[in-house]
């Protein structure tokens, strides 16, 4: 290594350390920490309520970002997201009803532990595993920063354009919804982003003469509609209480004792936690996979490597530790690709990206080089947010669990009122409330017809970037930009991946016939 290279490398490391220190002190400062705290508690409560998920919590959190500075805004948004899985784990264990989709794997061993009288141990282990998994993911993200900084420099307009289609394909194919439907949703999302003024020619596109559409569809009402109002319509149609059974209060003293026992066991099985967290973080890097598959893969791994495999499904604590560690570790990996390339791999990351846009922040090389303190605020928010969720979750098990007994018929009107206000608050426009409602109905239809709302939102968020990068790619390299090495490689991967999945689908259908 040359002398110049040595000093340049040292300067880069010093820059990262400076960013880390700044990010840490900002996270615990009076300007940021209260928002982190409120966001974490908000996420915990939302996570406890079945039917309301991480992306609902983030969608609601986004509405407040217009009034916040970047640091507090990020802390609030990510704090809410960080603790949703913890709340969801609680209800999965106590009521056999996962608060969020990513806690479904916890159903396999959590309720059996409850039935054996070990509910507190399961809850303690779940909360501690969430915290440890999230910390692992956050640390990996921090370690990836120097790598991402170098990699991202290789990605110019042609690369980002093709990468966007690759990410959308992954999201559509790997998501839980049907592939064709999800691809339709993704392309629809891209098309919706075309509404408004074309920045190059100042042409009004697809506005139908409506002045309010001149600037395009606002992100916040679309997000609120797809993920918040759609859930409200679903809750209203389903009716009844959110949890099937009324929560039975656990004896406070016994619960606390068991919870501490459970926390201890999670730390004792630290090697399992590390392995499952690694599974979660790796899967988080791949767009479209999400935390639900990661938690099931981690469960499978925990079972395979266990000494007593037969006890899985009958109340084995490792069957709780594995999935809970994985589903929180996913966030570190998911954030890495979102921050580096501005390409979200899930609806939560798409909402986070929207939140960053609202806060005036741009992902990619700018953020990784000049605003690395903000990246570290995100990292420390994930860790501290999960810690807050663990501490409060431990002591508020009984009160939190009562939230599930709220009737949908009471919750829906309140939340619709708050959502409508949130939709209005961005541009102070009643039109935006209408947009939220229209997308709420569309989102509900998509939910019951198995179309991927995540793919639609990601397509919508990426639409502007796709157009901008296509324009620049054609300007810089002409129509043959696709023949450059990286775009060509990414395009081949996209086509092969899609072709393989179509082939597998057709083969499976022929086999079924």
């Amino acid at each position: 290594m040359t002398r110049r290279g040595f000093f340049r490398g040292r300067a880069k490391i010093m820059g990262i350390i400076e960013g880390m220190m700044s990010g840490f002190f900002q996270s615990i400062s009076l300007a940021v920490f209260p928002y982190l705290f409120v966001g974490a508690l908000f996420g915990l409560v939302i996570g406890v309520i079945p039917g309301l998920s991480g992306h609902f919590a983030m969608a609601m959190a986004v509405t407040f970002l217009y009034q916040l500075e970047p640091g507090p805004g990020i802390a609030f948004l990510l704090g809410a997201h960080a603790t949703v899985a913890q709340g969801g784990g609680l209800t999965a264990i106590l009521f056999s009803t996962p608060g969020t989709g990513q806690n479904a794997a916890t159903l396999l061993d959590g309720p059996p532990m409850r039935d054996k009288g070990e509910a507190g141990i399961a809850v303690g282990a779940a909360m501690a595993s969430c915290f440890l998994g999230a910390t692992f993911g956050a640390v990996v993200l921090a370690l990836l920063i120097p790598v991402m900084r170098e990699v991202v420099l290789f990605f110019g307009p042609p690369e980002v354009f093709v990468l966007a289609f690759l990410a959308l394909t992954f999201v559509a194919v790997l998501g839980k919804e049907d592939m064709t439907r999800s691809l339709i949703a993704a392309m629809l999302g891209l098309l919706l982003a075309m509404i408004g003024v074309d920045n190059v020619t100042n042409t009004f596109r697809f506005t139908m003469g409506i002045e309010s559409l001149g600037d395009g569809l606002n992100l916040v009402p679309v997000i609120l509609g797809l993920f918040a109002i759609a859930e409200m319509i679903d809750l209203w149609v389903r009716g009844g209480s959110l949890a099937k059974d009324m929560p039975t209060a656990l004896s406070a003293k016994d619960t606390q004792k068991q919870i501490f026992q459970g926390i201890g066991m999670a730390f004792k099985k630290w090697w399992l936690v590390m392995r499952c967290s690694a599974i979660g973080t790796t899967m988080g890097l791949i767009p479209g996979l999400g935390s639900a598959p990661a938690s099931f893969v981690a469960y499978g791994h925990a079972k395979q490597t266990a000494k007593d495999k037969d006890s899985f499904g009958k109340g084995n604590i490792e069957g709780v530790i594995g999935p809970e560690a994985a589903n929180d570790a996913v966030e570190g990996g998911a954030l890495a690709s979102t921050l580096a390339f501005g390409i979200p791999g899930s609806s939560s990351m798409a909402i986070l990206l929207s939140g960053l846009f609202i806060l005036g922040l741009e992902t990619g090389p700018t953020m990784l080089n000049d605003q690395v303190d903000l990246v570290f605020i995100m990292i420390f928010t994930i860790i501290i947010g999960n810690l807050i969720g663990t501490v409060f979750g431990m002591f508020l098990v009984n009160p939190l669990s009562r939230a599930t007994s709220i009737r949908g018929t009471v919750l829906v009107p309140i939340l619709i009122a708050v959502i409508a206000t949130g939709a209005f608050s961005g541009d102070r426009a009643i039109f935006d409330i209408g947009i939220a409602i229209v997308f709420g109905i569309i989102g509900y239809l998509m939910k019951i017809l198995n179309y991927s709302r995540a793919a639609m939102l990601i397509g919508f968020v990426l639409g502007f970037a796709v157009e901008k990068n296509l324009y620049l790619a054609l300007l810089l390299d002409g129509p043959l930009f696709i023949l450059q090495p990286i775009p060509m490689g990414l395009a081949i991967v996209t086509v092969l991946f899609l072709a393989w999945n179509i082939f597998t689908f057709i083969r499976a259908r022929k086999g079924a016939m």
Partner: protein, 177 residues
């Protein structure tokens, strides 16, 4: 000895799947029409403005056609026309509930526009809870609580002035509606 499936449950499941199928036919038809309309609209733009929409719409249209073929192949299993007729005659409870909540949300917009945000939110929350069979006292207290929460968080904490409504604005001297 395995249990025989309940014929009533089977029939219910078949009806549910039939309803979903009919709904998807309508949804896909609507999306297809929108895409075709957008396609013709885009032909009126300069090529620089229309190329990205075309890049998106061509594969989208192909996907819609592929999916429509899949649905067409399955049409004999269900009877979408009968399901749609049934839904519009009010015989599908789920559809009725969706219409109900959608209508109330549209009413919320009008209520906010005319009466103002707080009055609109209070009124529609109250009506929704009463429609769901909640008691007057609970509905009133909850509606007041929700309105107060919105005031405290949005107007007081975040300094976002919510819409006052046509009526109040008229009395304040505004004449632009």
């Amino acid at each position: 000895m395995s249990e025989l499936p309940d014929p009533n449950e089977q029939e219910k499941e078949k009806r549910r799947r039939g309803n979903i199928f009919a709904l998807e036919v309508c949804f896909l038809a609507f999306v297809g029409l929108i895409v075709v309309a957008a396609f013709f609209e885009a032909t009126s733009y300069a090529i620089v403005s229309s190329r990205t929409p075309f890049v998106i719409m061509v594969p989208l249209f192909l996907l819609i056609v592929v999916h429509a073929i899949r649905l067409w192949a399955a049409r004999h299993e269900f009877d979408p026309r009968a399901r749609i007729a049934e839904a519009f005659s009010g015989a599908t409870p789920g559809f009725n509930k969706v219409l109900q909540i959608s209508a109330m949300m549209v009413a919320l917009i009008f209520a906010i526009w005319v009466l103002g945000h707080y009055a609109g939110v209070f009124l529609i929350s109250l009506i929704l809870m009463r429609m769901a069979g909640e008691k007057w006292m609970l509905a009133c207290v909850t509606a007041v609580g929700a309105t107060l929460f919105i005031y405290v968080v949005f107007e007081f904490l975040f300094d976002i002035r919510l819409y006052r409504g046509l009526i109040i604005r008229y009395f304040l001297g505004f004449r632009d509606f």
